[in-house]
Subunit: 108 residues, 2 copies
């Protein structure tokens, strides 16, 4: 027997951040582009774009810095605010996992 | 912004207990029958039966006591072990929620 766990952030109606969107942001940063980051997760460009736009709307800051031009015709990187937010979310996830594992062990 | 959370119990491959199966067991106890309990959740009899069988296989104790005969042709009630387990799971859920809310408030 083992424990399953999922956490996410939502507004009144919908999820807007969790492990999926977090992974997308990390892949965008890694690849330097929204398109490439989405492709790494087998996600359509439009789905990825909506995900990012949804995060920006709900957190009320810009997530991506667009770079224009260059050899590959521009790309995207994470803003400092987005990087800070991901760090905070990581820490939140880590503490949640640690705490729930303890509670699980206590009861089962 | 708000927090979303889901926990469940699983074996190597599959979930076998969480809020859905817990609700089913409570509805069976309430209505005195697997069929009626399933109906209250708009769940098919076969799905409910599989859910219960899956719980029994994974927890390794009987969950339902079948009663035979009577005006309505028999029914089902929870075994003492099942009642004990639900109590334990409730307490587990309660502590998880409490703990995660605290961690959420700390970070966001």
């Amino acid at each position: 027997m083992d424990l399953g766990l999922k956490v996410w952030l939502k507004n009144d109606k919908n999820k807007f951040f969790g492990s999926g969107p977090k992974n997308l942001l990390l892949k965008i940063e890694e690849s330097g582009s929204l398109r490439k980051g989405a492709a790494k997760l087998n996600m359509s460009y439009s789905k990825a774009w909506n995900m990012v736009s949804n995060i920006e709307k709900n957190l009320d800051f810009k997530v991506l810095d667009k770079t224009i031009g260059g050899v590959e015709g521009g790309g995207s990187s994470l803003t400092d605010e987005a990087k800070e937010f991901i760090k905070k979310y990581h820490e939140f996830e880590r503490e949640v996992e640690e705490s729930i594992k303890k509670i699980y062990k206590k009861h089962f």
